[in-house]
């Protein structure tokens, strides 16, 4: 039997029972579609988190006050458990490190902003002119905090895009005097709307000089120090140098935690990559189920077409020809199901992206290929048994069946 004839024969046989074919294709499509959509979700979550983390800056080393304990209880910790505060001086000292390009202190608290009778609760971040560079933010209007002495509490503020909209509406915001907590400050700039930013939404942030924030909150500690290394390769040395400088300044005690962005990114990448894989595995179970369904349906098909098999044998078909015809039919059904599932899955992922634009729900290529390959393999594999059963039918008995 020629190959095109074999394929046409199998196709016609599949088309001969539309309901059976439809159900089988549907089962396969659901399996493949589930893999595509679920991996799109998993991989989308991974990309979302990575994007969020990348958006807070690049080559970043973050210094947090306090030591995160990983070891057991240490009697020394019982005596000196209170970590020393991070101060502006600490932040300034970090600039001396060779691998450090920039550093920006960050003091955070909540306060109220009011202007012309409108009042709103906001997160106030005290920082310096370097912050905009370290965090890779951009301005929509005006300028950022003025550079210069970090200890100078200039009465100026830069506000997020959402704060601007809510406080001023259509009115110009630049140059306006507003009250933040108990201070009157002048708005010198507005940040461009960014939409996302892990933990802290810059659209709802009010940025003031760090010295001003510290007097406002009556404290001289810092929430974080953001350090930008000179290059990607310098992240590790920068982290070591920063640790050493802080240790020397804190009477030889390592009482800060230093996080590098790369390490965090790698961890998230690994964790969420594993999650995607696990989700894909769960979805693949539905493919195995679809494969078993292929077998079941093909077995029924063989039973229903027993007399046809007998006839084909009488007309000179060899066992191999009959086996190939049934295998080909199973493969065609699997391909059709896989392609339909591929389309359905991509449509589902597109729908998710439509409703959640910030969520990059794109199925990874490996998952799509694996799903298609698995669908084909299971469909054909589970087609082997029915095909062999058909080929082994006794011609005389098969012909006597009506």
């Amino acid at each position: 039997m020629r190959r095109p004839d074999l394929i046409r024969f199998a196709r016609d046989a599949a088309a001969g029972n539309p309901l059976r074919t439809f159900l089988l294709v549907l089962a396969m499509a659901i399996g493949v579609g589930a893999v595509v959509v679920l991996t799109a979700l998993g991989d989308g979550a991974r990309r979302y988190v990575l994007d969020e983390f990348s958006s807070i800056g690049s080559n970043l080393v973050i210094v947090l006050p306090g030591r995160s304990q990983t070891g057991g209880f240490n009697p020394a910790n019982a005596i000196t458990s209170t970590p020393r505060d991070l101060t502006i001086d600490d932040a300034q000292a970090l600039l001396r490190a060779s691998a450090v390009h920039r550093a920006a202190p960050l003091a955070v608290g909540t306060s109220e902003i009011s202007h012309a009778g409108r009042l709103r609760e906001v997160t106030v971040a005290g920082t310096t002119a370097e912050f905009i560079e370290v965090r890779r933010l951009s301005l929509a209007q005006g300028r950022f905090l003025s550079p210069g002495d970090w200890r100078r509490a200039a009465p100026e503020a830069v506000i997020g895009a959402k704060i601007r909209d809510e406080m001023f509406g259509q009115q110009p915001a630049l140059g306006q005097l507003v009250r933040v907590g108990d201070r009157r400050v002048r708005i010198v700039g507005v940040l461009a709307a960014s939409g996302q930013g892990l933990g802290m939404n810059t659209d709802e942030l009010v940025l003031v000089p760090v010295a001003l924030a510290q007097t406002m909150f009556n404290s001289n500690t810092l929430f974080r120090i953001l350090v930008e290394a000179t290059s990607r390769e310098a992240i590790e040395p920068a982290s070591a140098q920063v640790g050493e400088i802080i240790r020397l300044r804190h009477e030889g005690e390592q009482d800060v935690t230093i996080i590098t962005q790369d390490a965090v990114l790698a961890t998230f990448d690994r964790v969420l990559g594993t999650l995607t894989l696990a989700v894909a595995g769960i979805a693949a179970i539905s493919l195995a189920v679809a494969g078993i369904l292929v077998m079941n349906v093909m077995l029924v098909s063989v039973t229903q077409r027993t007399s046809e098999v007998g006839l084909l044998k009488a007309l000179g078909a060899s066992d191999a020809t009959i086996r190939n015809a049934f295998l080909c039919e199973a493969a065609i059904l699997s391909v059709a199901g896989a392609l339909l599932g591929f389309l359905v899955g991509h449509a589902g992922a597109a729908l998710i992206r439509l409703f959640y634009p910030a969520f990059p729900a794109y199925p990874p290529d490996w998952a799509v290929l694996a799903a298609l390959a698995t669908a084909l393999a299971t469909g054909t594999l589970f087609g082997v048994l029915p095909a062999r059963r058909a080929a082994r039918l006794d011609a005389v008995l098969a012909l006597s069946r009506r």
Binding site: M1, R2, D5, F9, D12, A13, A15, G16, S307, E308, G310, L311, L312, K313, A314, L315, G316, A317, S318, D319, A320, T321, A395, V396, L399, R402
Partner: protein, 237 residues
Amino acid sequence: MNTAQIELTGIEKLFRLGDSTVLALRDIDLCVAAGEYIAVMGPSGSGKSTLLHILGLLDRPDSGSYHLEGRDVTTLSAVEQARVRSERIGFVFQSFHLVPRLTAAENIALPMILAGIAPAQRAQRVARALRDYGLDNRADHRPDQLSGGQRQRVAIARATIMEPAVILADEPTGNLDRATGEEVMRLLESLNERGVTLIVVTHDGVLGSRARRQLLIEDGMLRADRRRPAEPCAGPT
């Protein structure tokens, strides 16, 4: 000098029904020359269909030998037997056995598709067969849109499309009314007149008497072998 086309010697076939074994065919010796017209008759269950299946290589005898055109076909592999069925033997069944989802033309083409004949040649031969069997305007009809006589004509066209040497017909008129049956028999006989060996299994005495040679089978044994005109048959080689 006419050599034997079909030569059966000592053919036996056993069927096992539970504990007991039934001898469906016992010690059949038969010699058929090319172009003969034979009716195999006998009551139902006598083993005449089994004989036909063995002649058509659908069934293997438990003992004895079967030479087709000088070749011992009982010892052939399944693949080789399939090839012999494809090229040398045409079947016509009582219940037509058309593939319901295929059109008349596709049903006729089926043996050629299985044999791997090129589509162009297939189309040519199917067109000629449709013309020969008066099915020109039924080519695209599916079996359920055809009358009984038309269905059997399609089945005969299918049986002859590979130009076999032997046509085996199992009660070809069993599902047809008398007039249509007569028409189908004339069609089969015209094929025989062109040199094809025709072996018809029937329990209808009138139908059987049309053949030049009648075999009577009872209880798996060849009871009688009558010929109208004497036809020579070469002895065992």
